[in-house]
């Protein structure tokens, strides 16, 4: 077995032990990174724009980062979107560096807009005929490049030979369909490169942190269909519609995961960033019924299939912890990982002890602005309070963009020395 293979196995076991609430050989360190490698190695000339348009070049920065710091998992967050495909389809939900006319600098990560792609009175259409709604309403609204698709019809009034298909002959429909085909070609090329990147990192000894990605149904509707503002009004005016739509989206998502039941994936983990469930955004009751209930069904199905959901909470989650703890108690111990952006990690560890692996704990702002000794103290505090008996992975509070080099060095160095000596 090569050194890289040995390290791969060691890191995978370290991580899996932490998830399974078993004491690993040392505390796993796996910070999520966005633009950090581009920032650390400016001589490579890689930016977020490069990551979108020249994947091979951007990979160099990630490979260098992994070789230098040797994290326990490949937590690269910024390498799986394709600028060329986006230029082609023109999604209206976001802007990205490199788009013609964008105000964003090359160094900026993509930025999301929240546009109402579905009106408040369209829930029934969405649920009643999902395919028709997506094809003729959602796609033309969410992608400027696909506007012609809204006239796609199969006309059943004349069914001789090919005649029901004649609406497809319309130039705008043909244009949109041609674009979809071309998009598929571009995306397939990009996917090949992304898979090569993951494979290359495995060969270097770094297991991917997850193998698939999802969102809670509530977030899907809020982020991409109704927008935050629209969703806030719906929470008061039509919560029953949100409930129906969330249940519907949970079913669709579960179908996707069931299809990958026996897929030969390097790790059986699915990543879920949680966006709109933070404190204050939604009442406890609605969090339970609208947000968590459909999401819980997804978690349950994944856990049942032997997958580990990675629940990545965003924003303050203090008022939710006790509830989530109760819900995770319904699963076998060590079924989930849960990331917190803020909070008292010693208390969080106690709360989830014997239930789930928690991760996070190093504030990004500290990595960017604090002195090195503060980082050392913070990492020691986290290891002292969270590492015993497994169930903890050291990570920053969010995906790191910019940080002092010496602070990143101190974070890894302290975790490696103090984590093992404990």
């Amino acid at each position: 077995m090569s050194k890289n293979q040995t390290m791969y196995e060691l890191r995978l076991k370290r991580f899996e032990d932490a998830i399974a609430l078993k004491e690993p050989d040392t505390t796993p360190v796996a910070p999520w990174v966005d633009g950090l490698p581009y920032f650390l190695y400016p001589e490579l000339g890689v930016t977020h724009k490069t990551a979108l348009y020249d994947h091979a070049k951007a990979m160099e920065a990630h490979i260098r980062y992994h070789r230098e710091f040797e994290p326990d998992a490949n937590c690269t967050n910024s390498m799986f979107l394709c600028g060329k495909a986006a230029d082609f389809l023109e999604p209206t939900m976001m802007d990205w560096p490199g788009r013609k006319g964008t105000p964003l600098p090359d160094e900026s990560i993509y930025q999301m807009f929240e546009i109402e792609h579905m009106r408040a009175d369209e829930y029934d259409e969405l649920i009643g005929d999902y395919s028709k709604f997506i094809l003729t309403k959602y796609l033309p609204r969410a992608f400027k490049g696909l506007r012609g698709i809204e006239n796609f019809r199969i006309d059943p009034s004349v069914c001789i030979m090919n005649l029901p298909l004649t609406p497809i002959a319309a130039p705008d429909v043909q244009g949109a369909l041609t674009k979809l085909i071309e998009y598929g070609r571009i995306q397939a090329q990009a996917d090949e490169v992304f898979l090569k990147f993951i494979g290359g990192m495995i060969d270097l000894g770094f297991p991917p942190i997850f193998a698939a990605y999802g969102e809670s149904p509530f977030d899907v509707i809020s982020d991409y269909f109704r927008g935050t503002m629209g969703m806030l009004y719906d929470q008061v005016e039509r919560p029953e519609k949100i409930k129906e739509a969330c249940a519907f989206f949970a079913d669709i998502q579960i179908e996707k995961y069931v299809a990958m039941k026996d897929a030969p994936l390097p790790v059986r983990r699915v990543f879920f960033p949680l966006h709109k469930g933070m404190d204050g955004f939604i009442s406890d009751e609605q969090y339970r019924d609208l947000y968590w209930a459909p999401f819980h069904r997804i978690l349950a199905r994944l856990i049942d299939m032997g997958y580990t959901p990675i629940i990545y909470t965003e924003g303050s989650y203090e008022t939710r912890c006790a509830f989530i703890r109760e819900k995770l108690l319904e699963f076998p111990p060590g079924s989930c990982m849960i990331h917190f952006e803020s909070g008292d990690f010693a208390a969080l560890k106690k709360m989830f002890q014997g239930i789930a692996c928690i991760f996070g704990g190093v504030p990004m702002q500290m990595l960017e602005y604090a002195e090195k000794d503060k980082i050392v103290d913070r990492v020691k505090y986290l290891i002292d309070n969270c590492a015993a008996g497994g169930g903890y992975v050291l990570d920053a509070s969010g995906a790191i963009e910019i940080a002092k080099r010496e602070n990143i060095e101190a974070m890894f160095e302290t975790a490696r020395t103090y984590g093992k000596a404990r």
């Binding site: 900026s108 930025q111 929240e114 503002m229 009004y233 008061v236 939604i282 960017e368 969010g398 910019i402």
Partner: protein, 221 residues
């Protein structure tokens, strides 16, 4: 001549209106408002009832009985009522004295609008006159707005950690232009904390929308 029946009917109606708005019952609130107008209740009294209802909503938000959604709905309802009432008021009544002027914008390089929009909404609901410069706002645009609007407070919004240097350069630009001491400056966004405030040179910070109101009340209220 004092008419006890009219007086108490009016008080009762106002309380009903306050309750309807605070309970977010749009249909009932508008019905009571129309009835009150038809019965000759002074428009200003109706508007005052709306303001009282908003403070009830605010209290419920603080007690975590209400959440952001309820706050937004109540605000929308009050806006509907104001839009109907204000044209019926005479010029001096309709003249609202704002608690202060606030300039806000998402800084250069950041095009996120949701957090900023929620802050704008909350500040307006709390009686401030808010000048929203939009997103991706360059330093010069903030300078121009401070010169022309002469606000008491400037709010710099941004979601990304990479734009903290732009918070700082915007504040430095105000400093260079000799405008820094004329205003209080708050930086805000999901990732903003005391360390970020210190780095940027702002007077205050917030990672939650309501903090903007607290700061405004402290500085201008």
């Amino acid at each position: 001549m004092y008419d006890a029946v009219t007086h108490y009917t009016s008080l009762w109606m106002n309380q009903e209106l306050i309750d309807a708005i605070a309970e977010l019952d749009e249909e009932k609130a508008l019905r009571i408002m129309n009835q009150a107008l038809a019965e000759g209740t002074p428009p200003l009294e109706i508007l005052n009832a709306g303001q009282i209802a908003m403070s009830v909503v605010g209290e419920r938000f603080e007690k975590q009985e209400y959440y952001l959604a309820e706050l937004m709905m109540a605000g929308e309802l009050l806006k509907q009522i104001s839009d109907i009432i204000k044209p019926k008021m005479n010029a001096s009544e309709a003249e609202v004295n704002p608690k202060g002027r606030i300039v806000i914008g998402t800084v250069r390089g950041d095009v996120h609008n949701i957090g900023k929009d929620i802050v704008v909404f909350m500040l307006e609901m709390n009686g401030y006159d808010v000048y929203d410069l939009g997103v991706d706002v360059p330093e010069e645009a903030f300078l121009k707005a401070v010169r022309e609007i002469d606000p008491g407070m400037v709010c710099l919004s941004g979601l990304l950690t990479t734009i903290f240097p732009v918070f700082r350069s915007t504040i430095e630009a105000l400093e260079k232009a000799g405008l820094r001491n004329r205003v209080k400056i708050a930086v805000g966004g999901g990732q903003v904390d005391e360390k970020v405030r210190e780095y940027t040179g702002a007077d205050g910070y917030g990672s939650l929308a309501v903090t903007a109101v607290t700061l405004a009340n402290q500085w201008m209220g």
